[in-house]
């Protein structure tokens, strides 16, 4: 197990290094921040001084080296716009995105797994077909449009739920969270639902496919031949096996929900990392973009590792091969 984790960590480091190069070069290609950052009234000398202060007068490889040396010291650069450490800016916004993503994934599991199970058990019936039809909608409707519809229906017409901001927050371990207050939860509901819709469809389809596959297995027929109740067969014998692929995907999707909550956060004015990213891109705030992308890579690598470990809880076969 220990060796396994070490190997995985090494793989993760290689991934991180490769991504550092890609991200840095990629961000260089999107434009010159000087045009946006510096007062057009400024004279030649002031402009040169500003460029030198930001380190933009250096050739690209020099800039990359100083980026890497900063990276190794845990310094991801200083925002051109906010004149504050990029990492700090992002981390400040992270809890908001994190709690939103977490709630979205909870929605995805709580709705998707039962829906997929039902659709898998009764693929021919109306309920099964209905669930699959709904999941196609969930896949194909664009997030921004669904978000606008949610706001229109629940915030404008019905007036049940607020549509912008985090609402009242409460501090936990020195970090502000919305989920600790009722008002915060009400503010979270619509953006989390919007973020979840695509994932609900995904989990539903996975759960359905898993259920249908497991149902054909001999051990399910054997369980029935033992005279077990249908509830026992479905909720123990089928569900436990069906959850294995679902857990993998849920883990990976959690990363993508966190990293790419951009659209939802913009629509619902949710002050998370995604909104920061959009602002940084429009202002070509390179250090923040780079820091954000590096953090995303780190997030995915970590989640992959965690999924691997959680996997073994569900699948004893994995547990054995790792411990031996």
């Amino acid at each position: 197990m220990f060796v396994h984790i070490l190997t995985r960590l090494f793989q993760s480091l290689v991934t991180m290094a490769a991504m550092a190069v890609l991200v840095f070069v990629g961000v260089f290609a999107i434009g010159n921040p000087v045009d946006l950052l510096i007062n057009p009234e400024a004279d030649q000398a002031e402009m040169a001084a500003a460029i030198a202060r930001l380190g933009l007068d250096q050739p690209m490889w020099r800039q990359f080296l100083s980026f890497v040396s900063g990276l190794l010291q845990g310094n991801l650069g200083t925002s051109f716009v906010h004149n504050a450490p990029a990492l700090g800016l992002i981390l400040e916004r992270m809890p908001a995105t994190f709690e939103l993503a977490l709630l979205a994934m909870i929605f995805a599991i709580v709705i998707g797994v039962p829906a997929g199970l039902v659709a898998g058990l009764y693929p021919e019936r109306l309920v099964g077909r209905g669930i699959m039809g709904a999941s196609i909608l969930g896949f194909s409707l664009p997030t921004f449009w669904v978000g606008l519809m949610l706001i229109m229906v629940f915030a404008v017409w019905l007036g049940w739920l607020p549509s912008t901001g985090r609402g009242e927050t409460r501090s936990l371990f020195g970090i502000e969270f919305s989920f600790l207050t009722l008002d915060g939860l009400r503010h979270m509901f619509l953006p989390a639902l919007n973020l979840a819709i695509f994932k609900v469809s995904l989990v539903t389809r996975l759960a359905r496919a898993g259920t249908r596959e497991v149902l054909l297995q001999d051990y399910v027929k054997f369980a029935r031949a033992k005279g077990l109740s249908p509830a026992r067969v479905i909720f123990v014998h089928v569900l436990k096996n069906m959850m294995i692929p679902v857990v993998t995907v849920i883990g990976l999707e959690f990363g993508s929900v966190m990293a790419f909550a951009v659209v939802t956060e913009s629509i619902f004015a949710w002050p998370g990392m995604g909104k920061l990213l959009i602002e940084s891109i429009t202002r070509l705030d390179r250090p923040v973009i780079v820091a954000y992308l590096m953090l995303t890579v780190l997030l995915f690598v970590t989640i992959n590792l965690i999924v691997d470990l959680v996997y073994s809880v569900f699948d004893p076969r994995v547990r054995l091969s790792e411990s031996s």
Partner: protein, 336 residues
């Protein structure tokens, strides 16, 4: 008339009468089991023999009421200890399954749930049918494993299926089948997937356990050699129909149906070393498109016009002996 009525007046454990199971698919109707009649007394072992696709597995599931759509038992009766199972609802059937009638499947690698421990899978079988505490169920499960010859049963209860060998898993499946002391076990080719040495052990074990507990056993197999050493009686299936039935020695020494003779001749044997193995020409017909008349006629060297025109019915040429053939063999064939 069935065999048990000849021999005794006790209610047979299983009395199957004219059972028909069909599969209604888009490609047509498959007659998987047609007019099946069987009778088993307490403690008796019946070998149900047939090639792949002869309907023998479907027959086993039909008895349990475990045929899934598009398949359905369309007619006939399954009298289990005098009660017709085809007339029972799902709830009543469930009370019998795993309790009074148990089943052992073909592939031990696939029959145990990979994510549940052996103990869980045994205890749930007990607790599905009787109100006992977990502790009591656990100790009965342990005794069950010990009974089928598994060493260190306590440790095995905590193990997952993948930690056991194939033979061990099949022993576990047998232990599960025996847990509630059923009066009938249907074993569907339980040794086919195992090594020959393990196969012999399992056979001996099952035979001993059935004798000890008085459990009747239907051993479904394609391997005539296996059942000839195990079964009291043999029933031969071809294309969904029973073609011959009788006491094991009688069937082996003097087969009446040409198909049975073919099966026996194609078992490799030491005495016939160096000779070409005999085989039955042709292939098993598809159950979707059975020929008119006797299904075996196209492969049979004794077939006449009558065989191709209409299907023969089951006849009883001697006590305890049944055959479905217009031209049964009368004397053992000269093998040379």
């Amino acid at each position: 008339m069935t065999l048990s009525q000849d021999l005794s007046s006790e209610v047979p454990v299983l009395d199957v009468r004219n059972l028909c199971t069909r599969f209604f698919t888009e490609a047509g109707v498959g007659k998987a089991v047609e007019d099946l009649s069987l009778c088993l007394r307490r403690g008796e072992i019946l070998g149900l023999v047939g090639e792949s696709g002869s309907g023998k597995t479907v027959a086993g599931f039909s008895l349990m009421g475990l045929i899934d759509p598009p398949g359905r038992v369309v007619s006939g009766q399954v009298l289990f200890e005098g009660v017709d199972l085809t007339a029972l609802n799902e709830r009543a059937l469930r009370k019998l399954r795993g309790n009074r009638i148990a089943m052992i499947f073909q592939d031990p690698m696939m029959t145990l749930n990979p994510v549940l421990t052996i103990g869980t899978q045994m205890i749930e079988t007990l607790r599905a049918h009787r109100r006992i505490s977990r502790a009591e169920a656990w100790s009965r499960a342990r005794d069950g494993l010990a009974r089928v010859g598994i060493a260190a049963p306590e440790e095995r209860l905590a193990a997952y299926p993948h930690q056991l060998s194939g033979g061990m898993r099949q022993r576990v499946a047998i232990a599960i089948a025996l847990l509630n002391e059923p009066s009938l076990i249907i074993a569907d080719e339980p040794t086919t997937a195992l090594d020959v040495t393990i196969q012999a052990q399992i056979l001996a074990e099952v035979q001993r356990l059935c004798r000890e507990t008085g459990t009747a056993l239907i051993w479904v197999t394609h391997d005539l050699a296996v059942v000839s050493g195990l079964a009291d009686r043999i029933a031969v299936m071809y294309a969904g129909r029973l073609v011959e039935e009788g006491r094991t020695e009688a069937i082996i020494e003097q087969p009446l149906h040409p198909y049975t003779r073919g099966l026996i001749a194609s078992v490799p044997s030491r005495n016939l070393r160096g000779e070409r193995l005999r085989q039955i020409p042709g292939m098993t017909p598809s159950l979707m498109s059975l020929p008119e008349g006797c299904a075996f006629a196209p492969r049979c060297d004794r077939a006449s016009e009558a065989c191709r025109a209409r299907a023969p019915v089951m006849e009883t040429p001697a006590s305890g002996r049944m055959v479905r053939c217009f031209h049964p063999l009368t004397a053992p064939e000269d093998r040379s």
